[in-house]
Symmetry: C4
Subunit: 317 residues, 4 copies
């Protein structure tokens, strides 16, 4: 009876990042270098797959701009076709004597209705065209309402721009060595109550079966009040560290990966922000240390963001 | 004197989900299968009962669209009636020689005012009509402002789409059995710091009176850092588990229900999300286990969301 | 030396709600019955005193509507005066032959510009009028942008409507008595993770000086997972309770007040909500208990909100 | 081996605000008097440096208004130039017989298009001008959508206005002395769950090297439920306080600075707010105490905000 509880306790104390023990592929990293998860979902519902809000919020600004332009063009094209189909004679004021095609006149009328400019040189006439124009103006307003929300969402989205060192280092630390990476906030706003969590994961053979294991690395300090400058996060490789006997070769053999997660409070809107990062075994440098960044010049402190990843070789003890 | 304190301490240690001991009906579940609470409030104040924002935010998109269309139509009808009542001769530019009814001309003028298109072919004339049109344009802008907010609220509403297994299982777990259900995030965004809480509730006879009792089930793990893949939540049925001697029959007799609550952080906007679920005694399968989901294909992991609820029969020890 | 630290430790263990020991007036309660603080600030900066956003967000809907109407009317009046002063001959299309006053024509032109309807029957002409009209349209858009934000803020403002019992009771509880009040969520949305805190405060004589003292009352339970139904919050008056020897007379003599604060998570937007309430010594009923609310009818539970405060007399032990 | 772990433990217990041990400049304070960090970032990416949203949200209202006016003027100028370049003959309705310059007519047409007023006296004609006008209306709507979001962001930004005493005091406290400062909420809204943290930092010589050290000061109380009135935050200078043997001279010599951080919940929107403040060694007054603020008048309490920093001299023990 007691043995049952032992098994449960042992399983309970096993750490898990949420990927489980079956994620043992040596060709697939768990977190991509940019912080996104290397997982694809199959058979999402159409609505979930689309997830328009999520996509439009996270799309690059240039793509977002082009998307709006295209959407505007196509919507006007659609309404122009409808007006044209109903009959351009119901668009009072159309004058083909300027040499403009009636379809394009309908197109520009549509754009004037959709944006609610409504110059009025052209105006709808007859039930059907008037009705379509009334509908188009409503659709324009609704679309624009959605845009407003999207643009606000894009702007207010709490996306921290944390610049991580490209490499993590196995560096001298006090009189031992430590696993280290460095980061700094690229933006002008401030990050407060910054907390870091490092999960080291590798494949292990358990009773002849390859299983993925996870270990939270104890850090020199895992929380700072302000990240006003840069922060070198350190896991001291003491004798009881899971990394104590690791070598570049052993890490490669066990497909070692360091999953970093950072959370903080952004002071602009006092909102929580998150950031992920991952270092694979081949993104480590053994025997190097980061070059200091902080300088005091003319009564103010300065850090050079371009040097966040800068390190110099340094022999290990 | 000491006995008094004992009673207080005993009552204090009694768990309660918030439904209390009197919720003993065997025909009414506490949480519906979709996660909503099976409670109706009587004598709400009119304002609370209406709670327009809550309703419009949670309404299905199709109903929301129809609601807007209807609202737009009725508002224009109302203003058309007002303009008509004042006299259509005060709408300069109305031409009935196109065969259009003056009322509908007023209707379309109203729509052009409400949306602020204002083509100007028809324009108000005289104090009363001008005044009503000025008011209508303001109402249009305000309505539209509310729409903007509503649409933003709908989009940014943190509604997690967690797909739960349809059934909870009593499955083999290590060398004992466990109460299990499985879930996965249906959306493309990520859920972090996911925490699960299971309250098991049943009716018990206390001194000849039926009372509802609540027990928080200890879990194998109740929090994971990332829910990048699926998660099978397990309550190990150890010898000290409240479920240790339960059978399908005993659960039915005591009206057993498992109240699940999940909370997590959505990474799109770093906002907290909540989800509820409930399994009644008759939504359990005794002697079955979930089929694994995670696969590694071409350097990435995959999960098939359609198989979240898939299980196979498996004899219990 | 040791005595110094004793004093510090004693002061450190003294509880304080934030009002301090000097708030000893027997005519001024600390928290008003509606939950607001009974404190007026003098010499606020003009900007802080105005705090337009806070006011417009919290104003009653009817006052808010009237405020907008008045603002719209006055803004149009202002611009009408400007156009009139520049000269109505610069408003092309004004026709006084309908018997309308030129000033009011300018007023309606202003409203058409401010709302961006712009029918165009009247249009600006000349540099100055054109410039003012261009400015007015911008101001209209900006004002409207602010309105949109305000309306969204009003709607999305997390204002819980918790209905509190009008009276707090000293009621029989197990085999002793307890201080109790009851509350329920009036709205249709759900409150989760509801937490209650009661601070009892009274005047005490310390070394011949009247000082206000604060005591957090230990509760039967101070947190529930869901407030799906009603919740009777209980402070058991055990022998070590600060209320153990209190009588209606002693509470009045010491100006006793119970400061209630409730915090919870609203499930519509997963946002935190707060609510305050206060019971003065004369809002207590000694020897009464609340009438149960929860009923199961037709497979669902029901609570009658109008009975939240309903109690019946009941003798105390 | 044991010594290695000792070093690690010692380093782990060293406090750090996030500025690190190298911030030892005696001419540069860490936090400016207004609460901002005295750190400049070099080589920010263009996008991060710009950080338009952050800037526009935090800009002063007057500058923000001027920015919008300028932006509007320049955008209209640009489009006027485009219309002029295409040819003003494509702007139907332009009448130069009023003596207005065709360029300025184009400018005003542009403003009517951008704001979607669209009077229609002037309207675009021909493919190119019509196309540009259609684009301008879209740009106008998008710009306005961004404005709406910005204005909402500005209004809803949780910026607490905490008035701090200009000076921190070394004042009599019980039978010892204490480091104190006073603060009050300048706004009409309420701050709840207010928490204060004071880090004292100074330069220390460690093995012949100047390093910056950080010490969190234990407070009389570091959290209050409501900041309804004023709050004098006190660090009692007990015999084990880091300040016990400090003098004005020693603080100056070690470049002493007190970094204050306050966090609270704003009751208007239930959102978290943060505020920073710093007192340098030369912003301390030795031997003074704050003058009490709270008064009860006509059944309400009052505090005079202009006296938050008011102190009177008082000899220390």
């Amino acid at each position: 009876m007691a043995s049952k509880n032992n098994n449960v306790e042992q399983e309970r104390s096993r750490e898990d990042s949420g990927f489980g023990t079956r994620a043992t592929s040596t060709t697939a990293r768990l977190i991509r270098s940019d912080g996104s998860f290397n997982v694809r979902k199959l058979n999402q519902s159409f609505e979930s797959q689309l997830n328009i809000y999520h996509r439009l919020i996270n799309m690059h600004w240039i793509r977002f701009g082009l998307f709006i332009l295209l959407f505007y063009f196509l919507l006007n094209l659609l309404f122009a076709a409808i007006y044209y189909y109903i009959g351009v004679e119901h668009l009072e004021g159309i004058s083909t004597n300027h040499g403009m095609n009636a379809f394009w006149e309908a197109f520009f009328f549509s754009s004037q209705t959709l944006t609610t400019v409504g110059y009025g040189k052209i105006s709808p006439e007859g039930y059907l065209t008037s009705f379509v124009a009334a509908l188009e103006a409503l659709i324009g307003l609704m679309t624009f309402a959605i845009m407003t929300g999207l643009l606000y969402g894009r702007f207010s989205k709490p996306n921290p721009r944390i610049r991580y060192s490209e490499r993590a280092l196995i560096a001298p630390y006090l009189d031992i060595t430590g696993f280290m990476f460095r980061m700094a906030n690229e933006k002008t706003n401030q990050l407060m109550d910054v907390e870091v969590n490092i999960i080291f994961t590798r494949n292990e053979e358990v009773k002849g079966e390859i299983k993925r294991k996870y270990y939270t690395l104890p850090l020199e300090r895992n929380k700072i009040k302000y990240m006003a400058t840069d922060w070198t996060v350190v896991h001291p490789i003491t004798t009881d560290s899971i990394l104590f006997n690791e070598t570049p070769e052993s890490l490669e053999a066990s497909d070692g990966e360091f999953m970093i997660s950072v959370q903080a409070t952004n002071d602009t809107m006092s909102d929580p922000v998150h950031s992920q990062k991952s270092y694979m075994y081949n993104e480590l440098v053994w025997g190097a240390k980061f070059v200091p960044l902080l300088e005091a010049v003319n009564g103010e402190y300065r850090i050079d963001l371009s040097k966040v990843g800068k390190f110099e070789l340094s022999s290990l003890t």
